[in-house]
């Protein structure tokens, strides 16, 4: 599994992934539709804000926030935990292990390969965002947008690695999907997916700062809507990547130890 071999295999794996996403369009569409929550929250918060603005958020600010949330969630989504649970139980993981590329790489590339299809969904929303909230509610600072690119990558990595950790736990238990549910429940509360974290009471906001969830969604979205100065943003980016490093460490650990328990039933 040399580095050179892996790098050479990546483009081909990526292409296969893209074809897969196109081939199972219906399934793909279902995944996309199941992330329409921001649009529902948009309706909810618009109704709330139509009576009186919430904090500094009036109706237009909510529109910008949740359309941005939708885009970020589309582009940083990962679902490897489900795949891994299935493959470990069915023994299909054995096929991946046979390949001369590390399975974690193949998972990562397959995930990223869905991006072109996801862009197709996210692009109209991005245009809507520009039209409805105008450029005025989005950040103008070029540095912020640079940080945003790194933040998107970091956000995806956190989501992806968390999925891997939970997926690896399927080596130890029959199904770790229940844990995924718990993770998602906390994610919904602390990520800024359902409401801007600014609206949190101060104590909960402090908690959110020290959990990985807000760096998955809230942070990139806040960058887009211009909630941070470049200095603040850099500091948060640092924290985000600390979480990435931490989770990467956990993944290598559980993967190595878990794999020893893998018994490839069926296959």
């Amino acid at each position: 599994m040399s580095v050179r071999n892996t790098i050479r295999a990546l483009p081909a794996l990526f292409r296969v992934g893209v074809f897969e996403a196109v081939a199972y369009r219906a399934e793909f569409l279902v995944w996309v539709l199941s992330t329409t929550m921001p649009l529902i929250m948009l309706a909810l918060w618009s109704a709330v804000a139509s009576e009186a603005p919430v904090g500094r958020y009036g109706q237009p600010e909510f529109v910008a926030y949740f359309l941005a949330t939708f885009i970020v969630r589309q582009l940083t989504g990962a679902w490897v935990a489900y795949e891994m649970n299935f493959e470990i139980r069915q023994g299909a993981l054995a096929m991946r292990l046979l390949r001369p590329v590390h399975p974690l790489w193949t998972y990562a590339v397959e995930n990223l390969a869905a991006l072109p299809m996801r862009l197709v969904v996210a692009l109209p929303v991005a245009i809507a965002l520009l039209v409805f909230s105008g450029a005025s509610r989005l950040s103008h600072h070029p540095v912020i947008w640079l940080i945003w690119c790194a933040a998107m990558l970091g956000g995806w990595l956190i989501t992806f690695l968390a999925n891997l950790v939970i997926g690896c736990l399927a080596f130890y238990m029959e199904s770790s999907l229940k844990l995924m549910d718990v993770w998602l429940a906390i994610f919904f509360v602390f990520s800024g997916y359902l409401y801007p974290l600014e609206l949190f009471p101060p104590i909960l906001r402090a908690v959110a700062d020290w959990l990985p969830f807000r760096y998955q969604i809230g942070f990139p979205v806040e960058l887009m809507t211009g909630a941070h100065t470049p200095a603040q943003a850099l500091l948060m980016l640092l924290r985000q990547w600390l979480f990435v490093a931490l989770m990467l460490g956990i993944v290598t650990l559980v993967w190595r130890r878990g794999l020893k328990r893998f018994a490839a039933y069926g296959g």
Binding site: A26, V30, L33, I40, F86
Partner: protein, 262 residues
């Protein structure tokens, strides 16, 4: 009819025995359930931060809707999801043949294949949320309100079930849809909010296309004594019609079933 009741009894007993094998799940599910209830109430608290009503609902009233949401989620995940997820699997693998061969109605058989009794925890959690909500409101629900909300509980379950049957029918046409459960619960998630917060297109969709409003908001209104008799009646008739439609579509799509692989 009697035969089907007995069949239901047999299927229930099998599920009960199966879940007794996984007793520990009860102890895992209990805390998770409690935790879910809390994560559900937090967004509500945020919405109501510093205001007494949203779209005509006070916090206590909105909590009643949440209580119904928890309750129905228990029914969905305990009695509806497990069976129907396995149908999707059957369709994909072609093993549905074995069910179709049995001398009983296929829809009945697939819908009662599996129950998860531990999910009844949700009912307790739901009742807990109701108690807290009515404590905030400072008055108990009326007897008439309770009775009509129990009637609506039946119609809501029927609606949920019919929606699932419709989703499963889709699996006959587009085969690889393992993630339907996930999709379904993400749509159902919108039912935790009182339906009047949604306006325009969404309000239309959630009343007539995916009748979320009928599932949680109406029973909550009934409990609060705010639902008119006419709405109650139309909810009952509407959900019966919906169930009938689902049945027809199921029959239609099962006739399209061409066994895979076997």
């Amino acid at each position: 009819m009697f035969r089907y009741l007995r069949l239901l009894g047999v299927q229930l007993r099998a599920s009960a025995l199966l879940s007794l094998q996984y007793r520990y799940e009860f102890f895992v599910d209990g805390p998770i359930e409690f935790f879910w209830a809390i994560t559900m109430i937090i967004p509500l608290m945020i919405v109501f931060q510093g205001r007494t009503s949203v779209a005509g609902w006070t916090l206590g009233e909105a909590l009643v809707v949440s209580g119904w949401f928890v309750l129905l989620q228990g029914i969905l995940e305990g009695a509806i999801n497990p069976s129907l997820t396995s149908v999707v699997e059957h369709i994909r693998k072609g093993t549905l043949d074995f069910i179709l061969l049995k001398p009983a109605d296929a829809q009945f058989l697939v819908s009662t294949a599996k129950f998860e009794p531990w999910r009844a925890m949700n009912i307790l959690t739901g009742i807990g949320v109701f108690i807290y909500a009515f404590h905030l409101l400072g008055r108990p629900p009326s007897v008439l309100g309770l009775l009509s909300s129990i009637l609506l509980l039946a119609t809501s379950s029927l609606l949920l079930y019919s929606l699932w049957i419709l989703t499963v029918s889709a699996a006959f046409y587009v085969v690889k849809v393992d993630n339907l459960t996930y999709f379904f619960s993400s749509i159902f998630d919108a039912a935790r909010w009182p339906s009047s917060v949604f306006r325009g297109v969404l309000s239309f969709i959630f009343t007539f296309v995916i009748p979320l409003a009928l599932m949680t908001t109406y029973p909550a209104q009934a409990m609060l004594g705010k639902l008119s008799a006419a709405t109650l009646l139309s909810a009952v008739i509407g959900s019966l019609l919906f169930a009938l439609l689902a049945r027809l579509i199921w029959l239609q799509s099962i006739s399209k079933y061409t066994s895979a692989s076997s």
